[in-house]
Amino acid sequence: MEINIKIVKQIDTSIVYQSLSHQESGGVCVFIGSVRNLTNKQIVNKLFFEAYESMAVLEMEKIVKVAFEKWDLQKVIMHHAVGEKKIGEPVVLVGASSAHRESCFQACRFLIDTLKENVPIWKKEFFENNEVWVTPHP
């Protein structure tokens, strides 16, 4: 049970495999979220992410623990970026390794879904003429 949780300025996507691979794992599943150029057909120029870091890390740890309870995993990674992010930049990286692929796929989906629900991180979208804190459950 290896856990790799971080709030970072810059997501490093190149370390995905070395961070997750394990001799007992038949595979790893990874999700990397990135900045899209459109929200509801409006052009987005950039994003800004703010985190309540101490609590965010604790919430991430809780999510990862639940994932280890629900599925037979070897390693889990959960990184989230803060600060200004341009179109195409990675903002979140989650993933898991497991002996059989069913588990790592389910765990990976759970990690990103639950992160989006619970972890105290906020996204501001910068459009041409205004900027808006995103509230995903209106």
Binding site: F49, Y52, V119, W133
Partner: protein, 78 residues
């Protein structure tokens, strides 16, 4: 009693930390009522949670000056 503010709450209140010196709320529910009364725009948010020492808190939880208190508007990470 110092309270950490984030995201849209920080914009509504205009600062990133609140310091309540008079009429200190006794529990989380009281704090929420205090905040929405003082900053009515907070009442328009789809949710408004309070974190107590880095954990989501329930309405009846007691507050003390030693606690780390934060207002958690709807999260939007990922």
């Amino acid at each position: 009693m110092r309270i950490l503010l984030f995201g849209i709450v920080k914009d509504i209140v205009g600062v990133d930390k609140l310091d309540i010196k008079l009429d200190i709320p006794k529990n989380v529910g009281d704090l929420k009522k205090y905040l929405v009364k003082k900053y009515p725009e907070l009442g328009n948010l789809s949710s408004l949670a309070i974190a107590l020492n880095n954990e989501y808190a329930t309405e009846e939880m007691k507050l003390t000056i030693q606690d780390e208190i934060a207002i958690i508007p709807p999260v939007s990470g990922g």
